[in-house]
Amino acid sequence: MANNNQSTQTLAAFVDRREMGLPGWRSSMVFLGLSVGFFWISPSPSMATEVLVFALFALSFNILLGYTGLLSFGQAVYFGLGAYGASLFLIHVMNNLWLALLGGVAVAALVALGIGFLCLKHHGVSFAFLTLAFAEMIYFIVFEMRNITGGDDGLTGIPRPDLILPGISLSLANSTVRYFFVLTLVALCYLLTYRILNSPFGRVLAAMRENEERTAFLGLAVRRFKLSSFVLSGAMAGLAGGLFSINLNFVPLEILHWTVSGEVVIMALVGGVANFFGPAIGAALLIILRDVLSSYMERWQLVVGIIFALVVMFLPLGLSSILSKLKVLFSGQWRGGVSK
């Protein structure tokens, strides 16, 4: 069990348990308000929608890293398969939004179940590399199956489904409808995740993250809890993928590439894995940087690289931790003395 300790220490070393906060309803409301307002601030509605999609994708990743203590280097698989699943359903089966999204989620969750079943016996680095190996395999399989997936060209010709709610039917070709539709689903997913993490199940995950051996001694089936968390994360990444393909009306092969798995790691880390909204902050920052900075400088990735390196070295809890430190300072002044 020597390996066990290693993997738990891996994360516990930089994520202090006390810091793994869940948000209160007030900050959640502020956050929701901001997300609604973002639609008008953002340079374009589709970019705003993409930020939401990646906020969900990064959350799915953080369920694993931040809350279960597993570093997956193949998160793009579930995102990609969710997108391909939903789009192929729209093309070949029927033009129904809800069923298509469900199909994408099902494909992603099933594959997560399979991969998780095989990989979760392993820990730390060998787990990360196993997920990478499977991700690369799936990338090349989808690449080679060009008849079905469009291979390197990506998947085009996806019909645009309508959003059918009781009483009304709205066109998702309209970018405002699309944004608020995606926002609703992403917000629901955040709520769901919050509820799950706040439940006894969530506490078991936290316990495993802190010390897997002790959790096992308590008589809890550690692997089954891990697998459930892995499948939940996969399903959520699959939903993010499905929404991504609906926003873009296209599935590019690149979303299965290992660099996308790398991007989501950067998003979560830069935003802060210890903060519930950290991944969303990271996703927003990275996508805004990508879309805005790249219009001004050719080597914009240098800036992203430097930010990332600085965060890892000096702020391992991400950008969201800067202001919480400031807050402690201020509240100390206001309320007389910093608690420590």
């Binding site: 070393a13 930089f14 190996a133 090349f140 950067i266 080597r299 240098l302 430097i306």
Partner: protein
């Protein structure tokens, strides 16, 4: 499928050996860094690229291939030492994930720096005059440079092995790899050893970059795919294992070459399937420690 004759198969085995040997150089560096520092160096591919560009830089001043080879290796070794001192050192004791992410960030930065300094267009890199032409092996006339690459890498591995097994410094490195706390307790200056090991690993990556340059020419993204393949080799051979890196490098090289004879589309999938299989059945790799 056309008939495959014996000479073709033999040549293909040689081709596989060339691919394998480049991977061995990279994997050895990754492996000794991991063995001692527990750092998975994602910047290894970028260091490979930097080595090749350092060589291009020196050659532009009129140096020959051999000087460039030494310079490329030394420059990346110095860079490696710097990375360890400045960036990786503050992260010791904070687990395996942060150093991994840091080197990932560094690889982004290095690639962008190469693009800024040398531009996006690739450079031609000629084979040294002495090694142009062929050697007649009976079944095929094989390019001399490729044979040199195989032999040179083999000799280098031998030297490295002798260094680790026979020299005092090598002894300390092995002690550090085996049990870092014990080594520290016995008065070994572990910190300097860390810097040295990182420098050696980085130097090997730079050397691999220069060695590969005449075959592939030099471009800013040359290290990207090679890095992933080197990871395959390291995990298959066993993280931190010297013998493992060599054997796995050769096996993966041969696998990729022979897949082309059988059915090219599987050449990529096959190495990752192999990697997954090895990790699942023997997580520590062929030669790794339990």
């Amino acid at each position: 499928m056309e008939a495959v004759f014996l000479p073709t198969i033999l040549t293909q085995l040689l081709n596989g050996l060339v691919i394998g040997m480049t991977l061995v150089l990279l994997a050895l560096g990754l492996s000794i860094i991991f063995g001692m520092l527990r750092v998975i160096n994602f910047a290894h591919g970028a260091l490979y690229t930097m080595g090749a560009y350092a060589a291009v830089f020196l050659i532009s001043f009129g140096a020959n291939f051999w000087m460039a080879l030494v310079f490329g290796a030394l420059a990346t070794a110095v860079l490696g030492a710097l990375i360890e001192r400045v960036c990786v050192r503050p992260l010791y004791g904070k687990g395996e994930i942060l150093p991994l992410l840091l080197t990932f960030a560094l690889s982004m930065i290095f690639t962008e720096l190469v693009l800024m300094i040398w531009g996006p267009m690739g450079y031609d890199f000629s084979t040294p005059e002495v090694l142009k032409g062929f050697v007649n092996l009976g079944f095929v006339r094989y390019p001399a440079y490729r044979l040199f690459l195989i032999i040179f890498t083999a000799v280098l591995c031998l030297c490295l092995w002798l260094f680790l097994e026979r020299s005092r410094l090598g002894l300390l490195i092995r002690a550090g790899t085996e049990d870092i706390d014990m080594a520290r307790a016995l008065g070994v200056k572990v910190r300097n050893l860390f810097t040295m090991v990182f420098a050696i690993g980085a130097g090997l990556a730079g050397l691999a970059g220069v060695m590969a340059a005449p075959l592939t020419s030099v471009s800013p993204y040359m290290g990207m795919d090679v890095l992933i393949q080197a990871f395959v080799v390291v995990t298959v051979g066993g993280m931190g294992s010297f013998r493992g890196a060599i054997w796995a490098g050769i096996i993966i090289g041969e696998l990729m070459a022979l897949a082309v004879l059988i059915w090219p589309p599987i050449s990529h999938v096959s190495i990752f399937a192999f990697m997954a299989l090895v990790l699942l059945l023997k997580p520590e790799g062929f030669f790794g420690k339990q």
